[in-house]
Symmetry: none
Subunit: 218 residues, 4 copies
DNA sequence: GATGAATGAGATTTCATTCAT
DNA sequence: AATGAATGAAATCTCATTCAT
C-alpha cells in the first residue's frame, strides 16, 4: 500500500524533468534563450521558481538536456528508411526531406535548429553536441544517398559537399525562418513567407532537377 | 597648413561613429546582441561608457546603423548592376550572388545576417528593420531576375518564391554557418565546413542547372 | 499552536510592504522624490536593493501606495462624518479641518502634500494621481459643505471656488511649510513658525467669521 | 578704437550672467531643478555647454544667484506704498496683495516660490536666503498693517500671526498651484483651477470680512 | 572667453540563483 | 521534494562637470 502511493509519487518525480524540458522547449523556441526566465519555465511546468534547480544545475544545463531529449532520438528512423530503399534515389531524397519537414520542420522542434544557431557562440559545447547528434548524421545520410545516385548514373557527377548543401539549405532556411523572421515580419515583398510543405517541395524538385543526369534512362 | 589640421577633437568626432560601429560589429557577431555590453563596445572603440551615446541613441540604433553601413548601402550597387545587365540572366545571378559572397558573406558583415536571425524574436524591431532594409530588396531583385529569365525562355517556368529560395538558401546558410557552428565545430563528417567561394559557386551552378530550360537556344 | 506561527518568511511577506512604505515616507519627505534612491529605501527598510520591487512595480508606485495608504483611506472617514452631520456646518468645517490636521497635517504624511507640489512638474503622473485621489475628493467635500451652509442661510452667498480656497489655504500652507522652510528656518519675523493646532484653529475661525451670514438666526 | 571694441565685448561679457540666469529661471520654473539640464540652460542662453561654468561654480550656485537676482529687488516698492497709505487699511491690504499678484504671482517669478518650497530641504541655504529676503519682509509688512487696523478699531483684535497667515495663504497657494498642479492637471472637480485675479480677490475679501470689526464706523 | 567631445559616477530595474522553511 | 522570499550582480542610459583646443 505504501508501495502504491510511493510509486505514484515516484512517477510524479520521474515526470518532473520532462515536464520542465517540455516547458523549456516551448518557451526557448518562442522567446529565445535569454529572454526566457527561469520562473516562466517553472510556471509553465506547473512548479515554482526553485524546483527546476532540483533537477538541473542552471539554465544552460536545461538547454542542453532539452536538445538531448528532443532531437537525439528522432534520427534513427530516417537512417533505416534510407537503408531499406531501393530504386531511384531522387524520390528517396524527396521523401526523406519532406518527412523531416513534417516531423521536425513543421513542429516546435524546428525551433531548436534556430536556437542552436543563435546560441552557438555562447554555448560552444551545445553547438558541438548539436553538430554531432544532428547535423553529422543528417549530412552523412544525404551524402551517402547522393553517392548512390551518382554511382548509378541517376545524378550527374558533382562535388558531394556542395550538392548536399544545395539540397539541405532550403530546408534549413525554412526551419530557421519559421522561428525568427516569420514570428515578427508578417510578409516580405508583398507575400507571406510562412513556408509551406508545397513551397519546400518545389524548391527541392528544382535542386533535384539540377542533379539529374539528362542521359539517364530509368 | 595650420588650416589643414582640424582640432584634434573635431577629427575624432568624424572618426568616432565608424570606430564604434567597427567595434560593435566584431562584438555583436562574436557574442550576440544582448550579450554585448555597451561598455564593451565603448572600450573596444577606445572610449568610455558614455561616448557611444553621443553618436547613437541606444544599442538598437547601433545595430541599425551597422546594417545600413554594411548592407543597405551595398545593395544599391547590386540593383544597378542588375539593371545594366543584358544577355542571359543565369550568368548575372552567378555574378551577383558570388559578388555578395565576396563583399559580405566572406567578411564580418555576414555576421549581421546570423545576428538578425538569432535576435529576431528578442528584438522584433531589429528584425523588421533588417527585413525591410536587406531581405526585401534582395528578394525583389532576385525575383525580378528570375522573371526575366522565365520570360525570355532561358529558365523553365516555375513558382517564383520557391525558386528564389532555392537560389538564396545556400548563400544564407553559408553566412549563417560561418558565424555559428563554424566558430566552434572544426569539421563535420570528417571535412571542414568553412564555406569557400568555390563551394558556394558549385551549389549555385547546381541550382541554376535546375532552373535552365533544356530547349532554350542562347 | 504550531498553526499560529506562520513561516518566518510568510510573516515577513505580510509586513514588508508597510515597512517599505514607512521607510519611503520618511525618505521621500526628507529628501524629495528623485533624490531618494530605491536602494536607500531598501536599506532603510532593512532589505536589499531588489526587494522593494517584489512588492511595488517601481518608485512611482511606491509613492502612489503611500498616498493611498496615508491619505485616500482616511478621506472616506471624513466624507462619512460629513454626511452624518446635522446642524450648523460652520462647526463641521472646523471639526473636519482640525481633524485632518491632527491625523495628517501634524504627522509625517503631511509631507506627501509638499512632495506632490514639489514633484508635480517632474512627475506629472504622480501629480494627477494625487489630484484625483486627494485634492478632488477634499475639494468636493468642502464645496458641498459650503453649499449646504449657503443654502441654509448660515453662510453668505459667495463664489464657491474662492471660498473653499480661502478655507483650505491655511491648512495647505501649514502642511507645506512644515516640510519645507520649517525644516531649515528656525524662525521668521522673530517668532517660530512651527504651525500649531491653535494657530491653525484661529486662522480657520477668521475665515469662518468671514463666511458667516450676520442676519442668520440659528 | 581698441577701447570701443573692447567695451562692446565687455558689455557682452557683463550681460552673460543675466542671460544665463534668465534662461535658468524659465527652465527651473517650467521643469524643476533636477529636470533642468545644464545644457538646456546653456542653449536657452545662446551659449554652449561649458560656458555657464565660466560664471557659476555649478548648478546650485545658479539657483542661488537666480533668486538673488529676481526677488530681492522687488520688495522695497511695496514697503513704501504701505508707509504712504492713510485711511482704512482693509483697502490697503487688498491693493498690496493684488499688486503682488500682478507683479509676481501672475509672472514666471512666482515659480521661484514653488521652487523654494520644493528645494528647501535639498538646499537649506537657499531656503534661508529666500526666507530672509522675501518671506520675512512680506510678513513684517502684513503684520504691521494688521496692527494698524486693530489699533484703529477697523479690525477685530485677533492673534496677529494666524491672521496674517489666513490673509497670505490664498496668495501663496495660488502661486504654488500655478507652478505645480496647474501645469499637469487641467481641471479639478470639473472646473479649471487656473487662479485668476478675480478669484484671488474674492478670497481676500472673504478673509477681510472676517477681520472687520462690525461695530466700526468708518 | 568660448567650445563641445569626452568622462565616469550613479540611478533604476531585472532575474538567475540560493536557502530557510 | 517543493516553496518562494530574498539576494545582489549586472546592464542600460543620463548628465554634471572637465579640459584640450
Amino acid at each position: 500500500m505504501a508501495q502504491v502511493s510511493a510509486s505514484r509519487w515516484q512517477r510524479k518525480k520521474d515526470a518532473r524533468p520532462s515536464e520542465i524540458l517540455d516547458a523549456a522547449l516551448t518557451l526557448f523556441v518562442e522567446k529565445g534563450f535569454s529572454a526566457t526566465k527561469m520562473e516562466d519555465i517553472a510556471r509553465a511546468a506547473g512548479v515554482t521558481k526553485g524546483t527546476p534547480y532540483l533537477y538541473f544545475q542552471n539554465k544552460e544545463e536545461i538547454f542542453k538536456a532539452m536538445v538531448r531529449h528532443h532531437l537525439s532520438s528522432r534520427l534513427n528512423a530516417f537512417v533505416e528508411l534510407e537503408q531499406q530503399h531501393t530504386g531511384p534515389v531522387g524520390e528517396l531524397l524527396q521523401i526523406l526531406l519532406l518527412k523531416w519537414w513534417d516531423e521536425v520542420g513543421a513542429t516546435p522542434a524546428a525551433g531548436l535548429c534556430k536556437l542552436a544557431i543563435a546560441e552557438a557562440t555562447n554555448f560552444p559545447e551545445l553547438a558541438r553536441f548539436y553538430s554531432t547528434e544532428v547535423i553529422s548524421p543528417c549530412l552523412s545520410m544525404i551524402e551517402h544517398i547522393l553517392r548512390r545516385g551518382m554511382d548509378s548514373g541517376e545524378f550527374r557527377v558533382l562535388p558531394i559537399a556542395s550538392s548536399s548543401d544545395a539540397l539541405l539549405a532550403p530546408l534549413v532556411m525554412a526551419m530557421t525562418w519559421a522561428h525568427s523572421f516569420a514570428k515578427v515580419v508578417p510578409d516580405v515583398c508583398g507575400y507571406s513567407h510562412q513556408y509551406s510543405r508545397a513551397h519546400l517541395s518545389e524548391a527541392l524538385q528544382l535542386v533535384l532537377q539540377g542533379l539529374k543526369n539528362p542521359t539517364y534512362e530509368n
